[in-house]
């Protein structure tokens, strides 16, 4: 006996509680199984690339804050590196350490959000792990407020360094954070890292093979979870990454659990990097004396890239000699990581769909730009 079934198309988002912003998916189900998934983008498009063509090089820093608003620091960093390459200048050593440190703090904050929402989407009611993650992230944001007077839209870095030295109380609270955060992290790991329900929900669900990941130019934790040994901080060191020692977690088959696990481990490595930076940093200049309005020679171009929490974030700049770039192209990791979404979803169930989406850790500010 066979039961006649009919595919059912459901529109997930843009107002769905767990699509990480205004992301829309048109999914066709056969019962609970997904047979087709089509992402529809563009609900948060703000024309950042075009806006950049009418701003001068320093003003664009404020635009980059709003790309991936959970990781403003690394956005600033990628952009400033691109401008420095364009102008052929190099930031002072202290600025490099400060950038590395703050970028790693930002990575912890971003990964905490990613992990927290991932667990929230697995269905922990009211988001207990999310609250624990936010509790730890709050301390990082407090430190960012000490650094630059803002918590999310930081604009901390400038082409040629960082805008100001941290205040004295930043260092004491950083020390306190480094001392207390590992126990918070251990608590989060105890809570759910090896939880059986989490295991059966995420193990071997939505795997992404290394080959497929590379073919889709996926980057960041999603790529490393698939077992590809790639980390821009090691492969193409920028700022102070060549001067610190850290490990890179590599997953095995790239399922949801691997992506989650890689992020949890990267948080620990970020802590190591920050500790080394605190040890190594020395007093000195933190900003180059560049003019307020920068001009790059005509026809020059540059590509600055960093290993942002979500993957490889790149800014391509082309100058026509004016005070603003002729063209700015953003290679945003979330958008490119999102391009594998239909491969991850098809064949799995409705409940897995939300978890897979959470495991890629997209940010719509960056996807739609």
């Amino acid at each position: 006996m066979s039961i006649r079934t009919e595919p059912m198309t459901i529109n997930i988002g843009p107002q769905h509680p767990s699509t990480h912003g205004v992301f829309r998916l048109r999914v066709t189900f056969d019962g609970e199984d997904i047979i087709e998934a089509e992402p529809i983008l563009g609900y948060l498009h703000r024309g950042t690339e075009k806006l950049a063509e009418e701003r001068n090089y320093v003003q664009i820093v404020t635009l980059t804050d709003r790309l991936d608003y959970t990781a403003s620091m690394t956005n600033n960093q990628a952009y400033c590196l691109a401008v420095e390459k364009l102008l052929e200048v190099e930031a002072p050593l202290r600025a490099k350490y400060l950038r590395t440190m703050t970028a790693e703090l930002q990575r912890i904050a971003s990964h905490l959000i990613a992990v927290g929402f991932f667990l929230q989407e697995l269905g922990t009611f009211g988001g207990t792990p999310l609250m624990y993650a936010f509790r730890a992230r709050e301390r990082i944001l407090d430190m960012f407020e000490m650094l630059c007077g803002a918590r999310i839209t930081l604009s901390y870095m400038r082409p040629g360094g960082v805008f100001w030295d941290p205040p004295s109380e930043f260092w004491s609270s950083l020390d306190e954070f480094l001392k207390e955060f590992p126990s918070d992290l251990a608590e989060m790991e105890d809570l759910l890292l090896n939880n059986e329900i989490l295991m059966v929900r995420t193990r071997e669900v939505s795997p992404l093979s290394a080959e497929e990941a590379i073919n889709n130019s996926v980057s960041g934790p999603v790529l490393r979870a698939s077992g590809v040994k790639m980390d821009l901080r090691v492969m193409d060191p920028y700022d102070a990454y060549s001067m610190v020692d850290f490990d890179v977690p590599i997953g095995s088959i790239g399922d949801n659990y691997d992506r989650f696990w890689v992020r949890m481990q990267e948080v620990r490595q970020s802590l190591r990097i920050i500790e080394q930076c605190v040890d190594q940093i020395e007093p000195g200049d933190y900003r180059l004396d560049l003019p307020k309005v920068l001009r790059a020679p005509e026809g020059t171009e540059s590509y600055g890239k960093v290993e942002a929490p979500k993957g490889e974030l790149g800014f391509y700049l082309f100058s026509d000699g004016g005070i603003s770039p002729y063209r700015m192209k953003i290679r945003s990791p979330s958008l490119i990581n999102l391009s594998v979404i239909d491969r991850l979803l098809v064949g799995w169930k409705l409940a897995d769909m939300i978890v897979s989406l959470g495991s890629i850790d997209i940010n719509m500010g960056e996807v739609d730009r």
Partner: protein
């Protein structure tokens, strides 16, 4: 084995159950912002402002509108424009602080407050009179001289234009417009 890790997780939540809540009960309790906090209520010192409109030019959104005319009431003839209009459209402001960074004479400071809700958009435009009358609790953002004094805007202490001082950055290698703080004694 099934169950053991779940029990571990349950114990973690139980431990947190006994902990004190970390949240702040906002209207009664307040988090004190850091002095560098980029708040609303810009602090502006008319005595220092020359009306050069650097802030308006440097604002990424172009929300500062300045109208000047040559002044006969200036401190020194030709040094200063008379300001007729200094409007900041606060409802579009993103508090990036670039206007403060651009000001060559340290006349504009970020504010320290954040509770500036209004009912209409027009109320959110800060006019020159609002700027004149606003409490002068400047944020120390991009103003190293204030941080050197350990000034905390949340203490309620208001600073006059003489007390806020002039910025001098140790990374400045070349002289820029407005950087001369005191006239060179040799030239007088």
């Amino acid at each position: 084995m099934y169950g053991i890790e779940m029990v571990k997780g349950l114990l973690v939540t139980l431990k947190n159950f006994s902990k004190k809540p970390v949240t702040i009960q906002y209207p009664e309790q307040r988090v004190s912002q850091h002095p560098r906090f980029r708040g609303e209520e810009f602090s502006w010192y008319e005595e220092r402002c020359t009306g050069c409109a650097s802030c308006a030019k440097y604002c990424p959104l172009g929300i500062i509108e300045i109208v000047t005319d040559p002044s006969d009431t200036a401190v020194k003839q030709g040094d200063k424009y008379k300001l007729e209009k200094f409007d900041i459209q606060l409802f579009r402001c993103m508090f990036c602080g670039l206007c403060v960074e651009a000001c060559p004479y340290d006349a504009l400071f970020m504010g320290s407050g954040f509770e500036e809700g209004k009912y209409t958009r027009n109320d959110m435009i800060i006019t020159i009179d609002d700027l004149r009358n606003s409490p002068k609790n400047p944020s120390t953002w991009y103003r190293p001289q204030l941080e050197a004094k350990n000034y905390d805007p949340r203490s309620g202490q208001q600073l006059s234009w003489k007390e806020v001082g002039r910025e001098s950055w140790n990374w400045h290698k070349t002289e820029k417009a407005g950087m001369r703080i005191t006239p060179d004694p040799k030239q007088d």
